[in-house]
Structure formats: structure tokens, C-alpha cells
């Protein structure tokens, strides 16, 4: 049936009480279209929500602020702590690309995880708190389908948050500081394109790290109706993990902490790239996603929805 004839007769059929519904086994294309519709709806309620827009605005403002501060207090190559952010601070004045890296490094400690905590903590618990979870489930929207769609939304959010930080950082770096061939941490200099490619891979790596946190978030979100509580719990997990990570006496558990591999992307800023560090990080993220994903799935299937 052509779209034109459907549109013109739709009103008549709706008025007559008969509505076209997909009959028989739906095709793969149809299933995909319907799922995409749900997914876009999820993105809409996250990105159009004022408080989430405010968070993304803060994430965009931070690199701008950082760039301006560093422009007027130009740090020398020896400034800053010997590791971590210090590796980047000194380089910012020489190459604006490092502003992007510095911004990601700084925001990864709390602000980026906070935004992921808000979005993932609200994903199921927020719906339960509003009561919209029962509205959705009785449409019916399958529980697993809803959970997976929401997790994909969280992943997209993680990537978009990192992209905003890195992108605005790069833009500010290009405006405020010189941009050119990038001097890596190992000392070698690579062309700008190479540096930008490494930056892109770093953005992907950090986004995956945040996605692992998002998995913890959505799993915790399936246990309660109080979204605020879940957001706080996720932040406690992040802070506790970072504190333990700094205590050398418990070094044995360091590789198992969720935040341990978040900032080890400096491996990608060396030639040759020390891939083992990268694989360790990705493996850690994968394990967290699998474990907490399974927990969330089990919980959402068995739960009695009393909201």
C-alpha cells in the first residue's frame, strides 16, 4: 500500500475504529523501524530534559574556562604534578591539542562520571519513580527491550559527553594556542593528523570507560524507585574507587577497580603505542559491562513492578 493512500484513508479508518496494524510475522525492517522509534524517543527524553542540557552545557563550558585560565597563566614545561594532568599542562601552551586532552583528564575525575551517574541512575529508577515504567510496560514494551534500549542510550550519552569535552577543548586549543605537529609523551613528534587520530581513539577509550560506569549505574537503577539515591550511590562508587586506587597498600586490588584504567590513555600518546595497557583497560570495561549488564537483565526480568 503506498504511503499516500495510507495517509488519506488513515483519518477515515481511525474514525471508523479500524486501524492498520502489522499483521503476521513482522519483517526485520519493520522491527528495526519500530525499535528505532523507541530509541529516538529515549534520546529525546534524555537530551531535551533541561537538567541534562544544563549538564552538557557545563561540560562544554569547562574546557573553555580551562583554556582561558591557561592562556593568562601560561604554564611552563615544568609546571604541574609530575604525572597525570601535569603531563599535559606543560604542553598546552605549545600545542592546543593538549588542551583537549587536559580537559578530558580533569573532567574525568568527577564531572564526566557525575553526568553519567545522573543519566544512568535515572534510567530505570526515574521511570519507576514517576510511574511511567508501568505505563511503558503495559503498552506493552518488553522489559529486556526497554533495558537494552536505555543502556544503548547511556552509551550514546557517554560518547556525546566525551565528544563535547574533547571537541570544545580542541576548538579552544586551536583558537587560543598554536596547533601543529604533536610532540608525544615519549618525545617523538608526529604530524597533526596522527595526533588527531590518537585523540579520536582516546575519546573512544574514555567513552567506553564511562559506558562501564553506565552499566553499573543502570544495574543499580533497577533496584529502586529513588533515582537520586542511585545517582549518589554511583558517585560513591567512583569516589571510593579513586581513593582506593590512590592507596598503595591495596595495590593488589587496583586492576579490579572500575576507575583504575580510566586515565591510562597516555599509553596512546607514546610511540610505539603500548597496546597492552589499552587492552587491559578495554578488558576491564568489558568485564564490568558484562557483569552489571547481566545483573540488570536478571533484576528487570524478575522484578514485580509496583511503582
Amino acid at each position: 500500500m503506498s504511503t499516500a493512500s495510507v495517509d488519506s484513508s488513515a483519518d477515515a479508518q481511525v474514525a471508523a475504529g479500524r486501524v492498520l496494524t502489522t499483521s503476521g510475522t513482522p519483517s526485520l525492517a519493520s522491527e528495526l523501524r519500530h525499535w528505532l522509534r523507541l530509541f529516538l524517543s529515549e534520546l529525546r527524553i534524555v537530551y531535551r530534559r533541561p537538567r541534562n542540557m544544563a549538564m552538557l552545557a557545563v561540560l562544554a563550558a569547562a574546557p573553555i574556562f580551562l583554556g582561558i585560565v591557561l592562556k593568562f597563566n601560561t604554564p611552563g614545561p615544568g609546571d604541574g604534578p609530575p604525572n597525570g594532568a601535569g603531563e599535559f599542562i606543560g604542553q598546552v601552551a605549545e600545542n592546543g591539542v593538549f588542551l583537549s586532552l587536559l580537559a578530558m583528564f580533569v573532567l574525568m575525575t568527577l564531572v564526566l562520571p557525575l553526568s553519567v551517574a545522573v543519566v544512568s541512575g535515572d534510567s530505570i529508577a526515574g521511570e519507576a519513580g514517576l510511574g511511567t515504567l508501568r505505563t511503558l510496560l503495559t503498552v506493552p514494551c518488553g522489559r529486556v527491550r526497554l533495558l537494552l534500549t536505555k543502556y544503548l542510550m547511556i552509551v550514546v550519552f557517554c560518547f556525546s559527553a566525551c565528544l563535547i569535552v574533547a571537541g570544545v577543548g580542541l576548538l579552544m586549543g586551536a583558537i587560543l594556542f598554536p596547533i601543529g605537529p604533536v610532540t608525544l609523551l615519549s618525545g617523538a613528534t608526529v604530524p597533526l593528523i596522527d595526533g588527531l587520530a590518537r585523540l579520536a581513539v582516546i575519546v573512544i577509550y574514555v567513552s567506553l570507560g564511562l559506558s562501564a560506569l553506565g552499566a553499573i549505574g543502570i544495574a543499580l537503577s533497577t533496584f529502586t524507585q529513588h533515582a537520586i539515591g542511585v545517582m549518589a550511590a554511583i558517585l560513591v562508587v567512583v569516589v571510593a574507587s579513586e581513593i582506593l586506587d590512590a592507596v598503595s597498600q591495596v595495590a593488589a586490588i587496583h586492576p579490579y577497580l572500575p576507575t583504575h584504567f580510566w586515565l591510562t590513555f597516555d599509553a596512546l600518546l607514546r610511540t610505539p603505542i603500548t597496546w597492552t595497557d589499552v587492552w587491559h583497560g578495554l578488558a576491564s570495561f568489558a568485564v564490568y559491562i558484562v557483569i552489571f549488564g547481566a545483573l540488570a537483565l536478571a533484576r528487570i526480568r524478575r522484578a514485580n513492578v509496583t511503582c
Binding site: 486501524v19 522491527e31 519500530h34 510511574g131 508501568r134 511503558l136 503495559t138 503498552v139 506493552p140
Partner: protein
């Protein structure tokens, strides 16, 4: 005076209810025991005939909402089976739920979206909805509940009545074979209540089975054809509205200035359970007709100012079935 014998055998659906594929809702042994140990729903056997308007009555806390949540797949029953529209819930609940419109325990939508956007989200979650007619269907549903003019206002700006209407509109997004409504007129003003009532009648006239949970007996009397009464988790009565009313014994009511004399005369005729009041005497109507009783009273020269047959009201029946108690049970 016990009007109904509330034993499970009398109230539970016959086993063949599950075999009968025509029933809109059929359940057998449906039970729900919460982890705290509380038995919220105890061995409920529903038999909702297709095309009927079935009133699901019961005091607050009797297990009505938990039963409805089980029927819609929100809560997992601890035991028992049920069928919706002939489909076994354990196998195909997700396939039959698109044919069921539901309103459970109050409207729940996103405050930061408009009414129309909220309905669009509900429709987006439906994997069998027709994409092409979505805007038309949403407009039609809003029109049916009278919200078309306010469709683009944010949900947080809606009054309680408007929120309730939006919830009903969500159930009308596509033609349904069964509507399960949990207190649909809750919070509505008299105009709204009337409109919802006529909407329900209209839906039922189209052939949809309507399962309405309510504790507003006057409303149930006006729209329902069948009734199921819950009390502390058990289904204590199930049948047509007529059967429920018929359960009550009719009584004869005599208005007179000589109640004691009238009572004596009624006793002489052979009527039982005579109750004397200030200016009235009532007695259980036996095999004598009201005309005979009237003639007997007049022959005994007792002044009769009024004579009528009264049946217990639905409220009396309801309280009889579910108990007089005002205090909440545990």
C-alpha cells in the same frame, strides 16, 4: 443476616473457564503472596465474558490492583494461571497485550513533556503499532477524551482530571479488544465522570470488553453488566449485576401509624423477620404478594399510609459481602 455464603467454591470460576476460549479474562487459582508473607490475592478465579462491562469491586486493600497488575504482567503471580483473550499468559502475554488498553493505579506520564508528546512516547514503545497513522491516532485519542485543545501543554500543567483523561487516551491509541481500567473516574468532576461513563458505554458498544475496577457503587450500577467482588484477597462473588441484586431477599415495607399492630398482623399472616420502626414495619417477603398483605392489613383496620417492596441496595450487598469494618486489616 448473611445473604451470600462467601466460600471459595461458590465464588471461584468453574475449571472449564480456562478451557473456554471466549472469555475475555479467565483465571484459575491466581494468587500473589508478597515476600513479607502477606497474601494479597488468594485463589482468584475470574471469568469475564466477552463484550461485557465487568465491574471489579472491593474495598481498598482487597487485592484489586494487585490482581490487575498480575493480569498485565507487571507482577508475577506466585501461583495460578490466567488467559487474556484466549491466550495463555505464560506463553503469549506480550502478543496479546497490544489488544489490551490499560489504566493502572492512576495516570503516570513525564511532567516535562506535553500531552501529545507523552502519547507519542507510549505509541513509540509499541512494536506492533502502525507508524503511518500514529499522528492521526494520537489526535483521535485526545479528541475522544476531550484533551485536543490542551494537547500541547506540558503535563505538569494539567489538572488531575486532565491527567486522568490522558491516561485513558493512552488506552485508546488503537482499537482494543479489552480495556482494563483501574478507577477511571478517580479525581474527575461530575461532567468528567459522565463523559467517561458514556465513553465506556461507547467502547463496550463497539464490542470491546471493559474491566473496570471501582469502589463507586453508583457508577458500577449504571454501566456494568457483570460484577466481581473482592474481599481480603478472595473473590467472594462473581456474576451478573442482576444476580448480585437478586441475592438480597426482598422485603415488604409498610408505613403506618400503628406499627405494633401491623407487626402482629404480619406475623399472623406468616411473614418472618419482622422489624418494627417508629413509623414503619418491614418483614421478609414470603410467598404472599404485596396485594394480599395490603388486603390483610386493611381487613384488620390497620391504617396503611404506604406499602412497597424493597430490595437491599447494592451498597448493602457490598457491605454484606466485604464487611462493615472501618479499620484497616494489618
Amino acid at each position: 443476616m448473611t445473604l451470600i455464603d462467601p466460600t471459595p467454591a461458590r465464588a471461584a470460576a468453574l475449571p472449564q473457564a480456562l478451557v473456554d476460549p471466549d472469555l475475555a479474562i479467565a483465571s484459575i487459582g491466581l494468587s500473589m503472596r508478597f515476600r513479607s508473607g502477606q497474601l494479597a490475592v488468594d485463589n482468584v478465579g475470574l471469568a469475564v465474558p466477552p463484550g461485557s462491562v465487568y465491574g471489579f469491586l472491593g474495598p481498598n486493600g482487597s487485592g484489586k490492583t494487585t490482581t490487575i497488575r498480575m493480569l498485565l504482567g507487571l507482577v508475577h503471580p506466585t501461583s495460578g494461571d490466567f488467559r487474556l483473550l484466549g491466550t495463555d499468559a505464560r506463553v503469549g502475554l506480550d502478543h496479546v497485550l497490544p489488544r489490551v488498553g490499560a489504566l493502572v493505579e492512576g495516570p503516570a506520564f513525564y511532567p516535562f513533556l506535553s500531552g501529545r508528546q507523552n502519547l507519542a512516547r507510549c505509541d513509540a514503545a509499541d512494536r506492533t503499532a502502525d507508524l503511518a497513522t500514529a499522528p492521526a491516532r494520537i489526535d483521535h485519542a485526545l479528541d475522544q477524551v476531550g484533551l485536543l485543545a490542551a494537547a500541547d501543554k506540558r503535563y505538569r500543567a494539567y489538572s488531575l482530571g486532565m491527567k486522568q483523561r490522558l491516561a485513558i487516551a493512552a488506552g485508546l491509541l488503537r482499537p482494543r479488544d479489552l480495556m482494563i481500567l483501574d478507577e477511571p473516574t478517580n479525581g474527575l468532576d461530575p461532567q468528567g465522570t459522565r463523559e467517561i461513563r458514556s465513553l465506556i458505554k461507547q467502547i463496550a458498544a463497539d464490542g470491546t470488553t471493559v474491566f473496570v475496577s471501582s469502589h463507586l457503587l453508583a457508577e458500577v450500577e449504571q454501566i456494568c453488566s457483570h460484577v466481581g467482588v473482592m474481599s481480603t484477597g478472595r473473590l467472594v462473588f462473581q456474576g451478573t449485576l442482576g444476580e448480585l441484586r437478586g441475592q438480597g431477599e426482598p422485603r415488604i415495607l409498610v408505613r403506618t401509624t400503628e406499627p405494633d399492630l401491623a407487626a402482629k398482623q404480619l406475623g399472623r399472616i406468616g411473614l418472618a423477620d419482622i422489624i418494627v420502626d417508629e413509623a414503619t414495619v418491614t418483614a421478609q417477603l414470603g410467598e404472599h404478594g404485596a396485594d394480599v398483605i395490603n388486603a390483610e392489613l386493611v381487613r384488620a383496620e390497620i391504617p396503611v399510609f404506604g406499602l412497597e417492596t424493597v430490595r437491599p441496595s447494592l451498597e448493602d450487598m457490598f457491605v454484606e459481602l466485604t464487611g462493615e469494618g472501618f479499620n484497616v486489616n494489618g
